[in-house]
């Protein structure tokens, strides 16, 4: 075998090995999002607690944090305190709105969850799963940050705790509220 053939074989095998390694150790549940920088769907649905219709349209021009959750979701319980803390941090800013979206849940279970764990912001019901599909959701919790122009700036799949809490509050929301909309697309 010539040296060039040997080199080609080694390169091809290394490439295949790298792909195999990626497949073995990468997170198969992670689906890269295509929504960053696109217009946020202006969804609407009934409030979990009051039943009154809420539309995302009514918050246009504000920084919106959407948090998809469900009462049966363990990780939603894990992040609940952090989510409440996040709302407490920004709720006094008139340009900030936070909205929960209750996903694949029964209304009494969702209401019981909010009663038990407490809440300080509104939650919309996703009646047929359409809202979740509009946002490309495939599991809960998922969190989206929408900028003043109505574009999705950030998406995170998993509980917003620890360094993710710091990242979302300090690197995503705070710059957007300070008028730096192009700061952290991810």
């Amino acid at each position: 075998m010539t040296k060039s053939s040997q080199l080609t074989l080694v390169v091809v095998l290394l490439g295949l090995f790298a792909l195999f390694y990626q497949g073995l150790w990468g997170d198969p549940r992670h689906i890269p999002t295509v929504l960053i920088g696109t217009d946020a769907p202006m969804v609407e649905g009934p409030d979990v607690e009051t039943g009154q219709m809420i539309s995302l349209n009514q918050f246009k021009g504000k920084v919106i944090l959407l948090n998809f959750w469900a009462s049966w979701c363990y990780e939603c319980k894990v992040e609940h305190e952090s989510v409440l803390q996040l709302h407490k941090l920004f709720k006094d800013d008139p340009n900030f709105v936070m909205l929960g979206i209750n996903y694949q849940d029964k209304l009494p279970d969702a209401q019981q969850y909010l009663k038990e764990y407490g809440t300080t912001f509104a939650h919309m019901r996703d009646l047929k799963g359409q809202l979740a599909i509009d946002y490309g959701v495939y599991g809960v919790p998922e969190t989206f940050v929408i900028d003043q122009q109505g574009k999705i700036r950030y998406k995170y799949v998993g509980p917003v705790t620890g360094h993710m809490y710091t990242k979302i509050t300090q690197e995503i929301i705070a710059p957007l509220l300070q008028g730096q909309p192009n700061s952290t697309p991810s």
Partner: protein
């Protein structure tokens, strides 16, 4: 006595095996067929090896509902696939669309097969060239000592 018993068994056998004939057959509407055909092309994002037609996950069920609703609204199958692509990206398609880096997925196996085949061909040709061709000349005659030894061994 035996004949009525045999007849009774025969009757029971015929009754049991022909029962499915009386089962109700539900016709699939054109809409059902379209939903099925589109759903089979979309990947369930929960059970990622299954399409949304086969998956039992609630999200897959809701996705089938979205497909049905959009068909009822007059959207074409291409529009519906485009909608799911815009929400979930190429990942949602059971067959990745052939564009950009996805071409590697489609062409990769053929490129590897062709490259491997060429490499193998080159190697085999090299081996053939390097192997000395057997001589066609008659072998040299045996000397007397070797001939006697051969005869001894054949006799023993």
């Amino acid at each position: 006595m035996f004949i009525p018993i045999r007849l009774a068994f025969l009757f029971l056998f015929v009754l049991a095996t022909s029962w499915p004939v009386f089962a109700e057959v539900q016709d699939e509407t054109l809409l059902d067929v379209q939903v099925r055909e589109i759903a089979k092309t979309l990947r369930c994002t929960v059970c990622q090896t299954e399409n949304i037609w086969e998956s039992g996950a609630p999200l897959a069920q809701q996705m089938r509902g979205v497909v049905r609703d959009r068909l009822k609204l007059g959207h074409s199958p291409e529009d519906i696939k485009e909608y799911f692509l815009s929400r979930y990206g190429d990942y949602i398609m059971m067959q990745p669309p052939a564009h950009g880096v996805n071409w590697l997925l489609w062409a990769g196996p053929f490129i590897l097969l062709l490259g491997g085949g060429l490499l193998l061909y080159k190697e085999v040709i090299g081996w053939v060239r390097r192997t000395p061709t057997p001589s066609t000349a008659p072998p040299p005659p045996l000397d007397e000592q070797a001939r006697q030894r051969l005869e001894r061994e054949l006799e023993s």
